[in-house]
Symmetry: C2
């Protein structure tokens, strides 16, 4: 039984007039950034700052990744109204001990973050990942899929992209002013689609997360919460991200661009094909 | 009357072993990332995730930018103990209505964020900035100072840098896994130094903030809170950052690299010298 969702629309970029170094006027696009206050059963929980592409999935994924809602069937509806910047969530049976569970705060790391509740950290130890693995050819396919995506999403700059793939097939690409929003949006979408990455058979194509941003503790934890054991980034990793990924046996791959990458953790999930690492010959050379 | 601060030390990088695309082992450095739980008068307030270079200034600046403490003389001591990841703050007279003032939460935008209390947004309208301005030559001096700094701070990657300058003179450069931490650390240092940027005379060299990350609402607000009217970034701006900077008359300059930049807001604070914008001749050409 899926929740009813609105499909609130709002422009994702805005034209602004700027002056360049010659003092000449230019009109450029900047990404939108909207405040979205989440109410659960009329109780105000949090204000998210978001680009606003998929606010309903974002709210669902936020509730999921905060572990405030255990199953999507607990949610009756998500109603987003951009006029007032509100997302009204109705649950079927209320949320147990909501006061207590939203009390502690952790301000998480740097680039593309947000706030996660303290209980989240306690839960990491209990997460179990599927036996997913990836070969180097498929990893290169992931990077190629993202390279093509790059060329379209950069019009306004200053956003992060996150993607969910199955093998090298792109399932969903989400951009937001914050990576934590992008990954929460993917989590919400997976819930609506009924995708359970943790239960995917080991012999099928694995689920892979891609992010343009750093592999922070929050990114690693959220991936694990969604049962995705392979995370790829164009950027690097932080110590806490590294440590938690090691504890979980989650495969983190960073500095991934063209045919280069570094595998930071979970190396047993990656099947090297070093022949592929050699750069292809230059056409016509 | 300044607070007593510990000077807690901890390594800023950690060596980790990774595998590259050939399957070859490399040892690389990644930035440290530590949890630091802040207790004020024995009451737990928040857990910050930080690189850990200057935890005492970070905590002071966090208290300042959250507007939990109005004057540094209200703080008796900050005691950081990395063994347990704690920062114990003692105030001289307690903090009024601390329960109420830490109740609402805003999860702020994307890259380099954190959590600010809801009251922060309400306060923006009341901020007043000094009549500071900058000429293009000094702006280029800022970029040159930061370019030199860049070459040293990148050993481990995945950190953001923030700096406070006076004209093009670098006063303090701070890096952290989160920009919000870096700017809070600068705020704490300014407090300890007794620097009041808002009260600086208009005919002196202006205070300038530099950040490697995006000009988000949080960055703009924190700059304004510290009385710094000129903010420069290598990166772009978000809509909320743009809007608030416009409201405050704060000068935001982004995409600033070498001799190029874009002025997004507060253009009356920048004195163009377009002759300087022409790239210098290539040596030997």
């Amino acid at each position: 039984m899926l929740p009813r969702l609105t499909t609130a629309q709002a422009p994702l970029t805005r034209d602004v007039e700027v002056l360049d170094e010659h003092g000449a006027v230019q009109t450029i696009q900047i990404p939108a950034e909207r405040n979205l206050t989440v109410y659960v059963d009329k109780r105000e929980l949090v204000t998210l700052m978001t680009l606003g592409a998929h606010p309903e999935w974002l709210v669902l994924g936020w509730l999921r990744n905060q572990r405030l809602v255990a199953g999507i069937d607990e949610v009756e509806s998500v109603t987003v109204d951009w006029e007032v910047g509100s997302a009204a969530v109705r649950t079927r049976r209320g949320i147990d001990r909501i006061e207590e569970r939203t009390a502690r705060r952790v301000v998480t790391t740097g680039c593309g973050q947000g706030s996660v509740f303290g209980a989240l950290m306690d839960e990491v130890a209990g997460l179990r990942l599927p036996a997913a693995s990836l070969d180097q050819a498929t990893l290169y396919g992931v990077l190629e899929a993202m390279r093509k995506q790059d060329s379209t999403y950069k019009s306004a700059g200053s956003v992060h992209g996150c993607a969910l793939l199955r093998g090298s097939e792109l399932l969903l690409f989400v951009e937001d002013v914050g990576r934590h929003n992008a990954i929460d949006t993917i989590a919400g979408w997976m819930w609506m689609q009924g995708i359970d990455a943790a239960a995917a058979p080991a012999d099928g194509a694995p689920y892979v997360f891609y992010t343009t941003g750093r592999l922070t503790s929050e990114m690693v934890i959220k991936s694990a919460q969604m049962g995705v054991a392979l995370v790829v980034s164009r950027s690097g990793i932080t110590q806490m991200g590294h440590q938690i990924a090691n504890e979980l046996g989650l495969c983190t791959i960073g500095r991934a661009l063209n045919r280069r990458f570094l595998c930071y953790s979970g190396r047993e999930r990656l099947r090297w094909q070093p022949d592929l690492a050699v750069p292809p010959p230059v056409p016509g050379a």
